[in-house]
Symmetry: C2
Subunit: 335 residues, 2 copies
């Protein structure tokens, strides 16, 4: 096959200079309509494909956004990634996605490798650990970067942070369980000492304190299988528990599966609520109450702020919390 046509070929075919073709490609207004049409037609005829590498080399803007995620298999992150990618595509940006599987070394190598492609921007849900190395990597990269969901202390406010307002979310959820008449409410799941765990737990703790209820914190993995494994324990060891706020929906859905096996009856003897409101909440038995983070909205916000930073140099605020809302279903209301 012959080599690909370039703007020079298009220019020749259209009978204009290559500058004109370049202007048409970039959608400039300054080209006469009739000229533009002739150029477009020539591009179609020749099967011209715009070469962004060349454009990037000259203009230092690749139109590539990196998305680096600590756990892409978690449906919560999948929904985020899918939404983000669609928004960015609408704005003419391609998303380069990478999963780091909670491995900070892999994460740093990944970021380094993505930067070689000349990222226009980076959205990072960081793995924990190796914080100095990642700070160095990001500094070297010198690319507009936003952290989402998790915030690394070491990055301070140099790397803006966007996340759902989990604190309000767990306050709403805890309050809701109390309103349903729960007297003994447990917090289930989440690795201890992680900022995300502390954050979701803190409002739970203070809401209980307000009512002089003793807290019961059962930390653990953030997976379905952990939630499932805790159903028998709740029945045997903690049989007075009548309400559970879970670290996330996966833990809660696992707990629901475990309870349909061993009891207690969810919605009746035990009221359960998750966090994230992933799609599966609607199709569990019973349907799972949750704190919705409005992931599409969160993705849109992140995309919007990043592009504003890239295109207009307007750097986002150091911390942005996006709104959450309570979604009540049978698992917590009983009806």
């Amino acid at each position: 096959m012959a080599r690909r046509p370039t703007i020079l070929d298009v220019a020749k075919a259209a009978g204009v200079s290559k500058s004109t073709v370049s202007l048409v490609v970039r959608g400039s207004e300054t080209v006469k309509d009739s000229t533009r049409e002739i150029v477009r037609e020539a591009m179609r005829d020749l099967g011209y494909v715009y070469n962004r590498s060349a454009a990037t080399l000259r203009s230092a803007s690749s139109g590539l956004i990196g998305l680096v995620i600590n756990d892409l298999r978690n449906p919560f992150f999948t929904e985020f990634a899918a939404s983000l990618q669609m928004y960015l595509a609408e704005q003419g940006y391609a998303t380069v996605i990478a999963n780091t599987d909670e491995d900070p070394e892999l994460q740093n190598r990944t970021i380094a490798s993505l930067c070689e492609h000349g990222l226009s921007g980076l959205i990072l849900s960081p793995a924990y650990g190796q914080e100095d190395a990642i700070a160095a990597e990001l500094h070297k990269a010198a690319v507009p970067t936003i952290q989402v969901f998790r915030r690394l202390e070491v990055l301070g406010s140099r790397v803006p942070f966007i996340a759902p307002d989990y604190e309000t979310g767990s306050a709403l959820a805890t309050r809701h369980l109390m309103d349903q008449g729960c007297k003994r409410i447990a917090f289930l799941g989440g690795l201890p000492e992680r900022p995300v765990t502390r954050e979701r737990m803190s409002a739970y703790l203070s809401a209980l304190k307000d009512e002089n209820i003793e807290p019961l914190v059962l930390t653990g993995e953030t997976s379905r299988s952990f939630g499932r494994s805790m159903a028998p324990k709740l029945r045997q060891t903690y049989s007075d528990v009548d309400g559970v706020l879970c670290f996330n929906d996966l833990v809660a859905l696992g707990l629901l599966a475990g309870c349909s096996e061993h009891g207690p009856r969810v919605g009746k003897d035990l009221r359960v609520i998750g966090i994230d409101d992933i799609e599966d909440c609607q199709d569990s038995h019973p349907p799972l109450s949750s704190v919705s983070c409005d992931i599409p909205n969160l993705a849109h916000t992140a995309a919007h702020h990043l592009l504003e930073w890239i295109q207009e140099g307007r750097r986002p605020d150091a911390v942005l919390r996006t709104p959450v809302s309570l979604v009540c279903r049978t698992s917590s209301t009983g009806r």
Copy 2:
């Protein structure tokens, strides 16, 4: 901040020519060890970042692999995407991912846009529809492309196809249900007339025919909510059904949720088996039997064949089926 260092800066700092630096960057063997070390050190000191756009422009190989998926929110595809991305990263390739949400027009625009970045290869799980347009798009792109999971007729054998051996899988599953003593086995879910549906159904149909059992095909969405909605129907309208082969795990998991609500009792009155063996199968109640497609292996195979094509010009076979295996759990065995 100063502009980024280039190989020229590195060359100056290391006291060699830029050709030498270029050789070091590309890991050539022909450079003396001591020289290589000096160059590496200079790169570190300067914070040098390799500019792939420049390299791509000259050498026409970007190291970028496109992954275009019809439904990235489905955990099956997520696992595939995550595995594939990890394998490709190990080989020094970055993955540009895009979700087309089953929209063929969006898909074609997406492919066109990815091609502007000079893809080295493309892995496509196509949306149905607009087949001529996509054929034209791929022709214009002239990039090594592999279809996975779904095969578009119009592309014929020009675009190699890799997928799990679903036919063997559904034969195994149907046979297993019979072995468990099921007398009336239904096939649940999957949009009618789609090749994927026909494929998973065909072995079910012929296995029943062998035993002179009447088939019962209940097509529908491939979602949890469809599976869930069918539980009451199975109880009321099709109460003689004692075994169900589901189009995929999502349908099966939905059915399980529906059954714990309305009966029948899964594993006892009704034996259920899914296809794909996504992670959630292990944590449902009861745990869901399924046909494992060994997604990591499938992803590895796809990555391997694509890279062989890209790097050595060895084009994969027109059709490659990867092995499947039966995973028996309580939903079909009762214990």
